[in-house]
C-alpha cells in the first residue's frame, strides 16, 4: 500500500494486522499527536480496528470470491483538514467552500457530512487492500458478531448469512439463489439443518446455520470443499483441516479431511484430501 512517498507491505497473520515498515507504530502515533503526520499504514491499521465488528462490512463487502470489488488507491477521496467545510463532487466540478463561524444547524449538517465522508474513506481504503484482506475483515466482523448474545435481534447478520449461503448453494447444486429461502440463525446444539422442498422452479432450499458459520467456514473459503457443502469445522488448521460436510440437502453431514492451497490473491482454496 502507498505510505508517504513509498509503498509499504501490510500483513495479516492469525487475526492481527502487522506493519513491517513501522516497527514502532506506537511511537509514530505519539509523534502524530504532537503535530507530526500520521503514516498511511498506521492510519489504515486504525481504520481496520474501527471496523472489525462493523456489520455494514458484511452488507457491502464481497459475497464470494467471484464477487469482485476493486478499489484503486487513487480513487480514495482527497483529504481535508478537520472542520473545514465544503463539497466535493464525484465529477470534480466546481465546489464552494465557506469559512468562519457556522450556525448550529449547519454545524450539525457539516458534522454529518464529515461522518459520511469519513465512512466513505474508511470503506474505500479497506476495500483497496484487495480480496485477501476483504475476506479476512468479513471474518473478523462475523466472528465478533457471532459471540454476541443470541437473544438479540439480528436481521443484518441473518441477511449476511442468506446472501452468502444462497450463492454457495448455487454452486453446490445449481439452485437459483432466489430459491434459497427460510434461512435462519441456528442457536441450539449441533451444526443446524438443511432441507429441500418442491420441484423445478418451485424448489425451495432452507437452512439453519449458526452465526459462527460465517466466520469459521465461509470467511475461510471453506464453504465448498470438492462438491460438498461444509457446515462446520471440526479440526481447524492449515493446510490440513477436518470439516463436517453435506453431500446433498437434507442429508446427514459426514466428516471430511480437507487440504488447502492459496490462489494468486492469497485466498485459500480447499479440496477433499486424498
Amino acid at each position: 500500500m502507498p505510505c508517504g512517498q513509498g509503498t509499504h507491505p501490510l500483513r495479516w497473520d492469525t487475526g492481527i494486522v502487522q506493519l513491517p515498515s513501522h516497527p514502532d507504530a506506537e511511537a509514530e502515533l505519539v509523534l502524530a499527536a504532537l503535530g507530526g503526520e500520521k503514516p498511511g499504514c498506521v492510519r489504515l491499521a486504525e481504520i481496520w480496528a474501527r471496523h472489525t465488528d462493523d456489520l455494514s462490512v458484511l452488507g457491502i463487502w464481497p459475497r464470494s470470491a467471484e464477487d469482485r470489488v476493486t478499489v484503486d488507491w487513487d480513487s480514495i477521496p482527497e483529504p481535508q483538514a478537520a472542520g473545514q467545510s465544503g463539497w466535493t463532487t464525484l465529477s470534480g466540478g466546481a465546489v464552494p467552500h465557506s469559512s468562519g463561524r457556522q450556525p448550529p444547524g449547519r454545524q450539525a449538517m457539516q458534522a454529518e457530512i464529515e461522518r459520511t465522508a469519513q465512512r466513505t474513506t474508511d470503506v474505500l481504503s479497506l476495500l483497496a487492500l484487495g480480496p485477501g484482506f476483504q475476506m479476512r475483515l468479513s471474518g473478523h466482523v462475523a466472528a465478533a458478531q457471532a459471540t454476541l448474545s443470541t437473544t438479540m435481534p439480528r436481521p443484518a447478520l441473518e441477511t449476511a448469512l442468506i446472501g452468502r449461503i444462497a450463492l454457495v448453494a448455487e454452486k453446490w447444486i445449481g439452485i437459483d439463489p432466489d430459491q434459497v429461502k427460510n434461512v435462519t440463525l441456528h442457536t441450539g446444539e449441533g451444526w443446524g439443518s438443511s432441507r429441500m422442498s418442491g420441484r423445478g422452479e418451485e424448489r425451495e432450499l432452507a437452512f439453519s446455520l449458526p452465526a459462527s458459520w460465517l466466520a469459521s467456514v465461509w470467511a475461510c473459503g471453506l464453504a465448498l470443499a470438492g462438491r460438498q457443502l461444509v457446515v462446520a469445522v471440526t479440526r481447524a488448521g492449515w493446510p490440513d483441516a477436518q470439516v463436517l460436510a453435506l453431500r446433498a440437502p437434507g442429508a446427514e453431514p459426514a466428516l471430511l479431511d480437507v487440504h488447502g492451497t492459496a490462489d494468486a490473491d492469497g485466498s485459500p482454496v480447499w479440496e477433499a484430501a486424498r
Binding site: W73, I76, E78, A81, G83, T116, Q118, T121, T159
Partner: protein, 453 residues
Amino acid sequence: MDSERAETHLRRIAEAELRRALSPAPDLHRVMLVGRALTKVGALDEGIADAIQADLEMAVALRQPLPPQLRPGQRRQGQPRRGPGRSATGAAYRNSSTITATATGITVTAAGSLQSRRRATVPEPLVPLTARIPVALGGDNGQLRLLAYSRTSTGAWFAVHAWNSRTADPVRRSRHFGHSVLDDLTMTDDAGNGYRLGFSGGGGPDGYVGCLTISPEPPLGLRWAEISQSGGPATRFRLDPPGAMPPVMVTRSALTPAEHLLIGYATSILNGSGPTALLGDVVTALRAAGALSPLSPVPGQLAALCEHGGFAGHGIDAPPAPGNEIPEHWLSDSRAASLPYPADKGAAIAVTLPEVDGIRLSLLGLTNTKQDTLLHVHVVGVTQDIRDSMPFVWLRDESHGWRTTRISGWSRHDDEGFARLSVWPPLSRCSAADVLICGQSAEVRVSLALDWR
C-alpha cells in the same frame, strides 16, 4: 407489528437486488419504496431503513464499472498518488441540497410572518372571502385572491392565492427565490387602524399559496377592511360572519396504518402520481412485518383498482375485489377530464370540519386556474411532514363523479399549516360538491354549495 421481521424483510430485498447488481438493472427504487412503506406504518425505524438503503447504494456503486471520471475522489491528472485512509471531510457520495422547497416550489417567509408571531390569541371562526386585489407579484402584475380570514393560535391571517395575471405564464420563480413575493401590503380596518401584512407560504407554477399574517392583531368583529400595496389604491372587502354550517356526516372507521398507506397509493394511482409496479412488494413487506392482516380487504381492492386502470404487473397476490367491494370514491373516471370552468374564478367555502386522526381540517376555498382546480385547506394538529399527516380528500360534483386530490404545495409552522390540493379531474360547471375526508379513524362528508366569482 414486528420491527425485527420488518428489518429482515427489507434487508432480504436489498440482498436480492444486490445479487442483480452485475446485471443491467438492480432496482434500488424497490428497496426505497418498501423501506418508506415500513417506516410510514411504524414497523421500522427510519434510521435503519436509511442505513440499509445507503449500504445497498454503496455496495451497488462499488460493483458497477464506472468510467474513471465518475469514481469517487478520482485523482486528477498530474496529482501525486496519495496514501490511504486519511480524513476526507468534504467528500460525499451523494450531493445534497440545503434548499427547502415545497412539492412544487419554494417556501418564502416575510417579516412579521408566522415565525415571529407565536403567541396566545383569541380564536375567531373562519370568514369566507371572495375579494380579488390587483398586486405587484415579484415585479409582475398579479392577482391576490383572499380566500378566508381567521384567527388561530398563530395569530390573525388571511388565506390567499396569488398568481400572475397573465395566467398562461407560470410565475417566474427564479426571480422570487429568497425574496418577498408580496411586498409592502398594508391593511386598514373599519375603525381606521393600520396593519402590516406579511406573506408566508409557498409558490410554484400555479402561483403562490399561503397566508398573510396581520400585525398587530386586529380587534374581534371587523366589518370590513381595505388592502393596498405600496400606498396605491385600496381594495375594500367585507368580513361578514360565516353563514350556517352545512351538515357534516362523520362515520367511524378503524383502518390500520398499513391499510391507510395502501389507500394513499390508491389516490396516487388515480391522480397519476403513484407507483403501480412495486405494490406487490409493499403488500408482502407489510404482511411480513405483521402490519397488514392477511384478512384485510384493502390489497384486493387495490389490485382491482390497478386492473380497472389497466395497470398490469402490480404484483399484488390478493385476488382483485369484485366491483361492488371497491370504495365508491375510488371509481373516479379520469377519462372525463376537462379544463376547469369557470377559469380564473374562485368559490369561497370556509368550513372547519371535525377532527380526524388528530388533524383539524378547514376547507378555505376552491380556485380554478386555466389548467387546474385547487382546493385550499388550513390544517391544525400537524406533527410531521404535512404530506404524511393529511387525511385523504376526495370531491364529487353533482354530475361527473368523484375526484381525487394530491398536495401540490404546502407550508407549515409548528402544528399549523396551509396546503393546496390539486383536484383531478378539474371541476367544470358545477355549483355543488361533496367533500369526503378519509382518515384512519373516521370519514367525514360535507356537501357544499359553490358560488364561483
